[in-house]
């Protein structure tokens, strides 16, 4: 192995070591499943390694693959699930958890289409600016804005969240303002496409 190749491997090792945990968290939020998150991230990093000397932004590249791979899996899930005798892991971990607000919100997040969920994860977990989310997803700024807005609307409209909202409203906000951002910042309800 030449010096260049050795240096490249060293840089890749440093990248994986330093960014693994952060990217795994993102992968988990995208998938909702620990095992699949790790598999997804490994697959993405293998692709990143393949093009290591030709990409100048490995994190952006890896994130983009993570999102695309997850969307791909989600699309094919119905087609592939019957091929295995192992029951796919879903959100069963939530069934016995305390069904508090976060659990309800997490369960609602898992019902969102994968690209919409990706927009929310990048925006509200990674705290990326909208323009940066657009770069990662390779889409327009307008798409990011609309997906984020529609995603938040869908979360507000989710039955579990709406029920909690009503409960919190009756306990804490008798004036009628809803708990989940439907007060002064409220947006009109929109028809959304699954």
């Amino acid at each position: 192995m030449g010096d260049d190749a050795a240096n490249a491997e060293e840089r890749f090792r440093d990248f994986v070591t330093s960014r693994w945990q952060a990217m795994l968290r993102t992968a988990y939020l995208l998938t909702g499943d620990h095992g699949r998150a790790e598999d997804l991230l490994q697959t993405a990093l293998v692709r990143t390694h393949r093009r290591w000397n030709r990409i100048d932004d490995p994190e952006l590249y890896t994130r983009r693959i993570l999102v695309n791979l997850n969307v791909s899996w989600w699309r094919r899930r119905r087609f592939t699930e019957h091929l295995t005798d192992k029951i796919p892991e879903t959100t069963a971990e939530d069934h016995h958890a305390v069904y508090d607000t976060r659990d309800a919100l997490w369960a609602a997040v898992l019902t969102l289409p994968p690209r919409m969920r990706a927009v929310l994860v990048l925006r509200y977990f990674e705290d990326l600016p909208e323009a940066e989310v657009a770069r990662v997803l390779d889409c327009s700024l307008g798409t990011v804005k609309s997906q984020a807005s529609r995603g938040l609307d869908r979360l507000r409209d989710h039955p579990g969240i709406a029920a909690l909202s009503r409960s919190e409203t009756s306990e804490a906000q008798p004036s009628g303002a809803e708990a989940f951002g439907t007060g002064t910042n409220a947006k009109p309800r929109k028809e959304t496409t699954p």
Binding site: L24, Y28, H49, N68, R115, S140, R156
Partner: protein
């Protein structure tokens, strides 16, 4: 201002992310995965080369240079597995069985099988196929046995996510540049833009044509497709504002690359300030759509410098043979782990006047967007930012002629601001806007074609 929902979402994500367990040695796990992948590639490659020796065929492109195959893959849509099988060979059970046998997967779903225009085409989705999409294309001469068809990995793309929005597309830049697009039976046409032409003022204009499909399939050649420029659009999509760029493999040898980088280093050294060679080369690699290989680009670095810790910017002019010249501004943020991200702005410059100041905004300098102004030869010049009639920031250009401002305005408003350069007498010698556009859009045009 954030809403309660946004705050709760942040808290929920943070709480969930905290449940992710630590991994003792992720790099070792990745290396094991890479070795497994390579073993699988070698197995496939061995089979393909054996076929080459016996039949005198060329090895499938995807296998010949798998490491260079671009990952420009978009996957949306969800209905391809439900499509009916189509094509002149759809009822040829022997051929379909041969496909399943070849793929070693009885659950392979064949979407299209037919002989068209002298070619045999099979499009299938195989659950065991570990490609990103699960889809594959077998392609060869009409009448060829299944074993002699080349296996290609398509990119699968979808539009709005609505019913029938998915397409499976495959393109090869080799030979006569075949393009295959398979959509739902409702897809009646595909729009193709093989290249970009430039108007006299240097703005890009798309060359386009619309081709009809047969049973939702288009099989054609695009010999005039240009690397990094060729795109397709599916009119069926409700939201077809987003074209799909055809993937392209660009291969250069190590020696060519080393020579190119040496040239870039020399050019970077001639700039005002300091231009990092790696970043200078990165700009040119991003402009492969102007011309390939990259050494054929004509470029000049004007300025480079720091925008703060881990932030750098450079200014260059770049053109390809017969293309306009583009002014390019690249801002790079480098993370502590060495990874970096770029923001590239630019516009066409009809007659490059390198003495004119350049102003732009960037979101990569921190939580607040910044405005940057470069005044060639303007060390010590006074620079002001104006929001309408109000001066919102002012400063003095440094020894390289550069000034950076963070006036605390959101980017959209900052982009509408004007910058002014004043001489020692306080006279305005230059004024301009900070709304330097997107470089990619300046070179390739927008999605509206």
């Amino acid at each position: 201002m954030t809403t309660p929902m946004e705050d709760r979402l942040r808290q929920t994500f943070a709480a969930r992310a905290a449940t992710v367990p630590e991994h003792a040695d992720p790099h070792a796990a990745i290396l094991r995965r890479i070795r497994r992948t390579r073993r699988r590639h070698r197995t496939l490659l061995g089979g393909a080369l054996a076929l080459t020796a016996v039949l005198g065929l060329t090895a499938p492109a995807i296998l010949r240079d798998a490491a260079l195959w671009p990952d420009t893959v978009l996957v949306q849509g969800r209905n391809a597995p439900d499509w009916p099988i189509r094509g002149s060979l759809a009822a040829d059970t022997a051929l379909l069985d041969a496909v399943r046998t070849r793929l070693d997967d009885p659950d392979t779903r064949i979407l299209y099988a037919g002989d068209r225009a002298g070619h045999r085409v099979v499009v299938a989705i195989s659950p065991r196929k570990r490609s990103m999409s699960g889809a594959l294309v077998l392609y060869g001469e009409a009448g060829a046995p299944v074993g002699e068809l080349d296996e290609q990995e398509p990119f699968v793309a979808g539009g709005s996510g609505a019913k029938d929005s998915e397409v499976i597309a495959w393109f090869s830049a080799e030979g006569d540049s075949p393009l295959l697009v398979l959509g739902s039976p409702r897809m009646t046409s595909v729009r193709i833009s093989p290249s970009v032409a430039y108007r006299p003022d240097g703005t890009p204009a798309r060359v386009t044509r619309t081709l009809r499909t047969d049973e939702g399939l288009l099989l054609t050649t695009v010999p005039d497709a240009k690397p990094g420029q060729a795109e397709i659009k599916i009119p069926l999509w409700e939201s077809s504002e987003r074209p799909l760029r055809l993937p392209w493999r660009i291969s250069t040898s190590h020696d060519e690359d080393a020579s190119f980088r040496a040239d870039v280093a020399r050019a970077a050294g001639a700039a005002t300030g300091h231009v990092k060679t790696e970043q200078a080369a990165g700009l040119l690699y991003s402009l492969g759509s102007l011309v390939t290989p990259h050494p054929r680009l004509t470029y000049r670095y004007l300025w480079g410098g720091s925008l703060g810790p881990g932030r750098d910017a450079l200014i260059a002019t770049v053109s390809g043979p017969g293309t306009p010249t583009f002014l390019a501004v690249q801002t790079t943020r480098t993370a502590p782990d060495g990874s970096s991200e770029q923001e590239r702005l630019g516009r066409v410059v009809e007659t490059p006047d390198l003495s004119r100041p350049i102003g732009w905004t960037t979101a990569l300098t921190g939580p607040r967007d910044s405005a940057a102004v470069y005044v060639p030869g303007g060390a010590g010049s006074r620079v002001e930012l104006r929001d309408g009639a109000r001066t919102i920031a002012a400063g003095t250009a440094d020894a390289t002629g550069f000034a950076l401002f963070s006036p605390g305005l959101p980017q959209e408003r900052l982009r509408a601001c004007e910058y002014r350069v004043l001489n020692a007498e306080g006279e305005v010698t230059h004024r301009g806007r900070l709304d330097l556009g997107d470089l990619s859009r300046a070179v390739l045009g927008g999605p509206d074609w």
